[in-house]
Symmetry: C2
Amino acid sequence: MAEQPDQNSPSHPTTKPYLIRAIYEWCTDNGYTPYVAVVVDANTRVPMEFVKDGQIVLNVSFEATSGLKMGNDFIEFAARFGGQAREIMVPIARVAAVYARENGHGMGFEVTEPVSTHQPDAKVDNPTTATAPERPAPGGKPKLTVVK
Amino acid sequence: MAEQPDQNSPSHPTTKPYLIRAIYEWCTDNGYTPYVAVVVDANTRVPMEFVKDGQIVLNVSFEATSGLKMGNDFIEFAARFGGQAREIMVPIARVAAVYARENGHGMGFEVTEPVSTHQPDAKVDNPTTATAPERPAPGGKPKLTVVK
């Protein structure tokens, strides 16, 4: 069988979008709030005013999003930030983690491409009088665990 | 939020069935043959004559199965072994790996409960003149890789 290119391995297509959707569904089925941590680059369309240290954490729950599409190449949706609807587009390659807000359980991924935030051609939305974005639950970083 | 019991952790329900389905879908979408490695116990209904060292590898592809159900507690399907239809039931807890036959890529899991094969009350189907079950591709063990 012909092998397909993969951003992570030359030997097979990536499983990453499938695993992201799996954790998303696990969150939704169990009443948890799915969060996606993103390492922002020029191909990532997010509200840049909420990017901190090159990263942003997005609430991708059904309630927080509109028109959510979790494809094999991109996560796309609209969400309100500070009362204003914003179009979000995140390449799957830029997803560093997907986890439940309530307990931090989920899955982390290496984001291997060079981080290039604040590039001139980055799709920076206009700043708004936005409130703070969603953040992980109190207690610090998500507790990503090894699959057992 | 009330936390639910989990076979792997007391703090959250298991993600395991979601991840198994994710790898299954990844295999199917990419034309790979999904294999499931099972650590057999008394609650596992498989053709015992194909169990080796307490384990069996099952081809769970659409083509090889009938009525496949990949639930949160069990994988269930019918399949032909040596020309005879057999009913298969595998508790999710007994799944040690799911991977693509063609390249060995997939995901492994710890199976922590004590292995208790060949128990008197195991649901052992009658032996048949079956041919050999599906095996991993030449080259040995599946090459389960860390998610990156």
